[in-house]
């Protein structure tokens, strides 16, 4: 474990610690919310350990608490978590091999994947992935347990701007990759498609649909910034308020 920290360097290590702290505080809010809606105290903690994906758990608990069927809750959670499959395709080398992989793949989440992506070499990618993955594995269910204990007091994470931490972290980590023109183009188109389709699709789907942005990246660099996505994704953007740089040039 100590060698992992040495590999990472101070800035990345501090970043991982900060991310885990934020995850922990959001976990407190999650645990408290779950018990105040009348669900058993073990539920958010067990979900936190075995699912280890915040968005899907919030959704699952929300549907169950609202009296929806567990089947609907499972399906909704799985749609949200489907993005882990393309994650694994992108960073296959960090999860380890043999018996280690059994735990390594479980540590795959938005933060650990983004942390790995941001590192310059495979050695540091692996260290960042495992350090962040373990941190989240401790912080998320741990936070949920604290939330369950303090129960009736739901910390207002919004008042402290904590809901801005998650997107800010992911953004900070992908910025180096976005300095590359083709990647930036694909990301912008993907983000635009996701935002435009969000009102019409169930949670989790817009992010998957965003992968259509790859159609732009896959094409040659004979085009310049501001070009629209291919026809496939143009269809998805049904009535988008064209706030992003889409010009329909095809």
């Amino acid at each position: 474990m100590r060698s992992i920290w040495r590999t990472l360097g101070r800035d990345t290590a501090a970043g991982i610690a900060a991310v885990c702290l934020a995850v922990g505080v959001i976990g407190v809010s999650y645990g408290a919310t779950a018990v105040t809606t009348g669900l058993p105290p073990w539920l958010p903690i067990v979900l936190g350990v075995v699912v280890l994906a915040g968005g899907a758990e919030f959704l699952f608990i929300g549907i169950v608490a609202a009296g929806g069927s567990p089947i609907a809750a499972v399906l909704a959670g799985l749609v949200v978590n489907a993005r882990h499959l393309p994650y694994g395709l992108s960073v296959p080398d960090v999860v380890g091999s043999g018996w280690r992989r059994l735990l390594g793949v479980h540590l795959m989440n938005d933060e650990s994947v983004a942390m790995a992506l941001a590192q310059p070499d495979i050695e540091r990618k692996r260290a960042a992935y495992w350090a962040c993955g373990f941190g989240v594995l401790l912080a998320w269910p741990g936070g949920a347990a604290v939330g369950v204990l303090i129960g009736t007091f739901v910390p207002d994470t919004a008042a402290f701007g904590l809901d801005a931490v998650f997107p800010a972290v992911l953004l900070a980590l992908i910025v180096p990759a976005l300095r590359e023109k083709a990647t930036l183009r694909a990301a912008l188109v993907g983000a635009a498609v996701a935002v435009a389709s969000a009102p019409f699709l169930p949670a989790g789907m817009p992010v998957l649909v965003a992968l259509s942005g790859l159609l732009v990246a896959g094409r040659g660099s004979d085009q310049r910034m501001g070009d629209a996505a291919g026809p496939e994704s143009s269809e998805l953007v049904s009535k988008s308020d064209r706030t992003t740089c889409e010009s329909g040039a095809e």
Partner: protein, 103 residues
Amino acid sequence: MMLAAGIIALAVGTYTFRWAGPALRERIRFPTRVVRLLEVGAVVLLAALVAVTALPTDSGHFEFALPAGVLVAALLAWRKQPILVVILAAATTTALLRLLGVA
């Protein structure tokens, strides 16, 4: 009992998604261009996640504080500030705007 089955189903399904990516990469030889696309794919997924999180569409009115915080994070990250600075600036911006009742 139904609830326990639901938890197990979600856990097993999610684990399968996580396990599938690395397993597929081991069994199938992807051409270099596809490997490169897969790497860009992770960035696209994360960028889309940022956009959807920063611009929630579920409520009727548009909330300004959260996207503003994320925008500040974007600017600082682009100027190569340490991640700790980026995180604190984003949270502070969003919290202050809410305090001032802008959102």
